[in-house]
Symmetry: C2
Subunit: 229 residues, 2 copies
């Protein structure tokens, strides 16, 4: 895995899970023409306490102004940068059934920085058909798709029984994050370090009001280790 030019800072799990909360609030503040915010106010709006807010934000860097607070626009930018929302994340969708078609066809993903780099399935009757402007390919092509399009996120849109198998294949293909829409808990091999993210919040940021229960597992930067076949 290529080393991204990340800051050497190590942001705690719990903090990362709260960043989307802060981000949503900041967006609302922007919309309301509020340009400054103190940790106290942010805490109030986010339903946490001020010390936690300051601690969380301090991991990103020293972006506040003592005696004043934080500048909304700047803080927004920094959080989006940390969450990787400032660049595209191509995804590959596994499963061309109802859900897969819906996800691919909706187009919302692409508009929000998650272009659909490919859709795969095992069913021969589905392969070759075009959904959401993308041709469905065989699941065996996963490694090529991932490599050639620099896909970091795999989306599981298959029945529960097949979800684990798909997860394994995604990991082997080299994706570092898995967005699982199957109603079952998946796991990844030992040695592959993953992070669970509250998808509902992520989707809220993106403007979705998705009620599906999905889980997201995101590789922790710097611990990239692929499972052997």
């Amino acid at each position: 895995m290529p080393m991204a030019g990340r800051p050497q800072r190590r942001i705690p799990e719990a903090t990362v899970s709260r960043l989307p909360v802060y981000l949503r609030i900041l967006h609302e503040l922007s919309a309301a023409e509020t340009h400054q915010i103190s940790s106290e106010q942010l805490a109030e709006l986010g339903g946490v306490n001020a010390a936690k807010v300051r601690k969380d934000l301090s991991y990103l860097g020293t972006y506040g102004v003592r005696g004043v607070g934080y500048e909304v626009r700047f803080l927004t930018y920094q959080i989006e940068r940390e969450l990787g929302l400032n660049h595209d994340w191509p995804v590959v969708i596994v499963g061309a059934g109802n859900l897969g078609q819906a996800l691919s066809g909706y187009g919302g993903f692409g508009q929000e920085g998650f272009p659909v780099a490919g859709v795969v399935d095992v069913d021969p009757s589905k392969i070759g058909s075009v959904i959401g402007g993308v041709r469905v390919r065989h699941i065996d092509e996963l490694p090529q798709i991932v490599a050639s399009r620099s896909v970091a996120i795999g989306v599981i849109a298959v029945p529960a029984l097949e979800a684990q198998e798909v997860a394994d294949r995604l990991v082997r293909a080299g994706v570092t994050s898995i967005l699982n829409f199957a109603p079952v808990v998946i796991s990844v091999p030992r040695g592959v370090n993953v992070r669970k993210v509250d998808l509902a919040l992520e989707l809220q940021i993106l403007g979705y009001h998705e009620q599906s229960r999905a889980t997201m597992m995101r590789a922790i930067p710097g611990s990239g280790e692929s499972a052997s076949a």
Copy 2:
């Protein structure tokens, strides 16, 4: 609040959240005619490690047999007892809209030990109507309903904007648990100690495959403190 005759043992949050997982596995083992299980096997099936399983189960009591393992039926009983699944928990549903009607009318709640003790709403046009065999009453009657029917669980089935207000009223009325179906995070007053439970898992136990995102807050036994009006 009356002191329930609970064991003095204090079971950690994290452990309680895993008990439903173990329970589901035990049910499957029973169905498969398996009567003994070791912490190692249980850990494998539950996707956790054996030490954690043993630690978790040790909080319930000394129910294992050294050199052998745990007896499935007995352990099942103990976990169900701990989770309060061995007796009824009357619920009151707040909101007689689509969701409230669905929840009340389905009947599944009642069959699983959660009889609907009442449904309330603020809308005069809804009050007096009968849904799921229960007459809709005014939300102001909440305290009487809770007291007379020993309701411990309130179900929030109102729009997001009203969820917090309803949560407050439920707490004041004396419920100790809140099942929130509104797509928003609710909070309870300081001094009221609550526990969040993964509802998805709870519902799985009950045989539901509910995809709604709901959160459950359950009062921690022994810390019962009602907010003042």
